[in-house]
């Protein structure tokens, strides 16, 4: 195969897109609007921290952050190729997109591991 890694990247794109489609709107509504604007009672800090400490929550949040990042990386790469016709820079574009996703995923793993 000419591009053996593309199927994997596409599967990551699909998984990330599904996670984002199913879970991002409710999180965005609650944490972005309802809680800060006081429409709904936000969780107390220590209760939230207690929830964060659970291994299951950490795993959930790891998938929640990392998979959609790879969804963005793959999709944005092709948007740059087709929308802005930057295909000739394919190495740079790919490095920027997947590199950013990898770095942020590593940061997420580090932060989630270190929640005490």
């Amino acid at each position: 195969m000419a591009r053996p890694v593309t199927p994997l990247l596409w599967l990551l794109f699909s998984a990330g897109g599904t996670v984002a489609a199913l879970l991002f709107p409710i999180h965005a509504f609650l944490f972005g609007l309802a809680f800060p604007l006081g429409w709904l009672e936000p969780p107390a800090h220590d209760a939230l921290l207690g929830l964060l400490r659970q291994p299951l929550t950490r795993l959930y949040l790891l998938a929640f952050i990392c998979l959609p990042l790879f969804h963005w990386a793959h999709r944005f790469r092709y948007t740059l190729y087709d929308g802005l016709q930057l295909k000739h820079l394919f190495g740079l574009v790919a490095a920027l997109c997947y590199g950013t996703a990898l770095v942020l995923s590593a940061v997420a793993a580090y932060v989630l591991w270190g929640v005490s």
Binding site: M1, A2, R3, P4, T6, P7, L8, W10, L11, R75, Y78, T79, Y81, D82, Q85, K87
Partner: protein
């Protein structure tokens, strides 16, 4: 039923940007033969279609299916091919997977 009108090629923005892209009608036809249990060429087609000019260039704009006068739905065929292609590729990675 595809009548080779190539309206899908006119509608596809990727064809406009990347002339060597294999294109909706061809990929839909390839998938049609993959689905046909009298045919044994799936492996050869997979090699070409998963290459540089193949299915991975498609970003599911969907214009090809919109333009098709015969409701062939090439866009759907390509996405289904991506899915089966990706899983087939995974299977080749496994130590017991056959090509």
């Amino acid at each position: 039923m595809c009548i080779n009108c190539l309206l899908c090629y006119s509608a596809c923005p990727i064809i406009g940007l990347e002339p060597s892209f294999i294109g909706p009608a061809a990929i839909a036809l390839a998938r049609r033969y993959d689905q046909d249990n009298r045919d044994q060429g799936a492996g050869e087609r997979l090699d070409i279609l998963s290459g540089h000019d193949g299915i991975w260039q498609c970003t599911f704009v969907g214009e090809c299916s919109e333009a098709c006068p015969k409701s062939v739905d090439p866009a759907g065929a390509i996405q289904q091919y991506k899915l089966t292609g990706a899983f087939d590729w995974f299977r080749t990675l496994l130590p017991w997977g056959e090509r």
